[in-house]
């Protein structure tokens, strides 16, 4: 058979979804609007969850006690994207695992507010164990990105 250019079906999905989130998510996101980072505490293991959870994975219990943290945090680990990766939103180059207060879990968020010319410099400027503070957006809508990023406390 002669060489034949194989056809491809080229298309995109744009599938819409709607959900109503329950209390743990709703309180947390409402808190964001007011520049508050809330957490909740498991009644069995006493672990503090920031962000809060509808249930404690380990104990399978519903955290009942809520607290407002001061937002001060520690950088557990991070990754620096040295190039803008195709197919991903254009965002700050560093995302980190951020432990707020004495949370037993980490908060995935951006680490930014650091001056640089070249992304490669960031690898040296950011350190595991660094102290961080939250930086908020002016316009807040009850969204995870109401918190713009965490910035190293110098």
């Amino acid at each position: 058979m002669e060489e034949m250019a194989i056809k491809r079906t080229v298309y995109s999905w744009h599938a819409p979804y709607k959900v109503t989130l329950g209390e743990a998510y709703a309180r947390f996101l409402e808190g964001m609007k007011q520049k508050k980072i809330l957490g909740n505490i498991c009644p069995v293991c006493n672990g503090l969850y920031v962000p809060p959870r509808p249930f404690c994975d380990k104990c399978l219990e519903q955290p009942t006690e809520w607290i407002e943290t001061d937002g001060m945090a520690t950088l557990v680990t991070f990754s620096v994207a040295l190039i803008q990766l195709p197919g991903l939103p254009e965002v700050y180059p560093i995302t980190g695992m951020i432990k707020v207060g004495n949370s037993v879990t980490n908060f995935l968020h951006f680490v930014a507010g650091i001056e640089y010319d070249d992304r490669a410099e960031l690898v040296e400027k950011v350190k595991i164990g660094m102290k961080l503070r939250p930086v908020w957006k002016e316009q807040r809508t009850g969204d995870i990105l109401d918190l713009d990023y965490f910035q190293p406390v110098s």
């Binding site: 194989i6 298309y11 979804y17 989130l21 998510y25 962000p51 959870r53 994975d57 557990v76 680990t77 991070f78 990754s79 620096v80 994207a81 040295l82 190039i83 990766l85 195709p86 197919g87 991903l88 939103p89 254009e90 965002v91 995302t95 695992m97 951020i98 879990t105 980490n106 908060f107 995935l108 968020h109 951006f110 490669a120 960031l122 690898v123 595991i128 969204d143 995870i144 990105l145």
Partner: protein, 389 residues
Amino acid sequence: MPRKVAVIGVGNTTYTSVRKENRERSEIASACIQSALDFVGRGLSLADIEAVYYATVDGFEGVQRPERSMDCFGQSAGTPVFTVNTGGTAGGSAIKDAYHIVAAGLYDIVLVYGCCTLIATVDAQQILNTATPPLIEKPFGIGAIHLGGYYLNRYQNEYGTTAEDFALVAAKSHKHAVHNRYAHNRRGYTVEQILESPVICHPIRLHEICPVSSGSCCLILASEEKARELSDTPVWIKAMGCISDTYMVGYRDFLGFPMLQKLAQKVYQEAGITKPLEEIDYAEVFNPFAGFEYLQYDALGFCEAGKGPKLVREGVTDLGGKLPVNLSGGTLCTNSGIAASVTRHAETCLQLMGRVEDQRQVKNARVGLSHSWGGPMGQFNTLAIFERD
């Protein structure tokens, strides 16, 4: 009493880049299944397969539940297809379930097919980003590579691992992939070439990242009675397990793979293994990023935490060493999505059967290990121990 279960057949197709892939997904699958049937021989045909496990992440395939429209699994005879989707571990999860269902006596001969998940993919990172929790973690645009960064950055910070250490373990995979006819990237990058490649996501370099491949892999599992009838080299599943972590990425501390460590304790106990480095003859671990192999050595008890680079420098995990690992080139050299998790098991079985290319065949391997890692941002691990007669 549960029955013994063996892997008796392995099927593979050629692997290429998804951009160069011309075959329709059912053509890839039918070729792959036919190669497994031929591998077993002895007149085994599609009609003898009593159930099929299709391992996928269907959202990535461009068709939801694509196996529905692939008439290559014996559906014309009503053969049941079980569609398993647990992310990158789907192959491992499916093998585990197939093992259970044969051990339980519900079927005698089953096929586990690891599909070429990324065949329709335009952009792998875009696809992988859809597996993060929307609304809570997805807006940060993290793909698998960032996750790799979290683990390897933390590992490096803890143990002072050098760029050369990471390149060394990558070069080990690349070196052997050259000889693997079923590897996608067979360029055989050296340590120098790897160190010259750019850092994409600190500390991961380009040649330490898996390609986006097309191609697929399948296994045929059989009950003891059928295995003895159909194979001279059955590879028995000694023990197999799966472990689940939390969903939100933030619930992991990224220092090593503690879940894999817990799973290994359980699976080793079941298989009667107390000294893995001494008792296991071959291992395939899931390394989409070369450095993961080090974290896996720690978790699987091959060495003390952080001592992986020493093992590699001493050649312990290379061909001729005490416990060769990833002589297929690993996921690092071929990552056809879900197929890669089946391949980890296929490669170990092939090594135990003595059926790989001479240049990378481990002599007299009797006990083997296979690992897969996946789920939303690495939520799941599976682990299997194989043994031949």
